[in-house]
Amino acid sequence: MIISEFLKDLTRIEGIQAIAIYRSDNSPLDIWTDSKFNKQILEQVSVHYFQIFSVLESSLRDFHETVITYGKGKIFSRVFPDSLLIIITHPNVEISLIRFIINVKMTELLNSRQFQKILKKVPKKKMQFLDNKYLDEQEIKYLKSVKT
């Protein structure tokens, strides 16, 4: 609902396959996909992105956005104080266009009463989701080295 209302322009870009907004406990606030896209992929992807941003936060690195190119397209993600946005696109989609739309429209979304109302229902906690069950030995080792 909030995507089709606030991020409608993103859904109009040819080649945008999926847009998802998660709250800070990794539960979806809203998901939009084109008809061919498998929504389950988003669930798997979002867990990894929470991990990525948590690691970045742990290492005190000021990263709020990532763009990864893979064989079939691109994954854009940006973290906000209480939420995470993930966008999956075809390879030809211009990331600067996505960024421009988000810069304007996500501010409207985040400040909207609708979004604030949704957040009120969520217990406020810091984004720190590094659950050891998702980590392999290398990752645990890396995190230890970052913390020391």
């Binding site: 040819e14 079939k72 397209g73 075809h90 390879p91 030809n92 211009e94 421009f100 810069n103």
Partner: protein, 158 residues
């Protein structure tokens, strides 16, 4: 044999009715592209629907053109380039926010992109805007600038 020098993403083709693709010894993906040639979809839309990257789609279109299977439907310059009016409006909005330095910033970014106001390709607009935003140091002004130009840019993109 027709040579297609450059395949642009906004070009639209249809199948040449005087040729039969069966004789062209096409590969699977080339057939997939042929099946999408409806005289309406742009090269980019076809690439997206088949998950092909720029290089792949360009090679396929060049091969199809070489086999004389393509007819250009639309290469509209009008829709391909940004009108001068856009730069005037942009310059005006930037000047309101940044003062006389706006024109200098605008020209600097155009130079950085090796572009001119005349013949500025529409598909370069998002990158152009991003570069302009990066030239504004004040974050509050960055936000304000994006908010102001959003409806203008949107009208040239969609």
């Amino acid at each position: 044999m027709t040579e297609l020098k450059k395949v642009e993403e906004n070009m639209v083709f249809q199948l040449n009715q005087n040729q039969t693709p069966e004789e062209a010894n096409l590969m699977h993906l080339e057939w997939a592209v042929v099946s999408q040639l409806d005289g309406q979809k742009t090269v980019r839309q076809i690439a997206d629907s088949l998950s092909l990257n720029t290089k792949e789609i360009e090679e396929i279109f060049k091969k199809l053109a070489a086999a004389d299977l393509l007819v250009v439907v639309n290469k509209s310059d009008e829709s391909h380039y940004l009108p001068q009016e856009f730069f005037k409006t942009l310059n005006h909005e930037m000047t309101l926010l940044l003062g006389p330095v706006a024109t200098i910033i605008l020209e600097d970014v155009l130079e950085m992109m090796h572009q001119h106001r005349e013949g500025f390709e529409r598909n370069l607009l998002p990158v152009f805007i991003e570069l302009l935003i990066n030239q504004i140091d004040d974050q509050v002004k960055q936000v304000e600038f994006q908010k102001r130009i959003y409806p203008i840019v949107k009208s040239y993109i969609f």
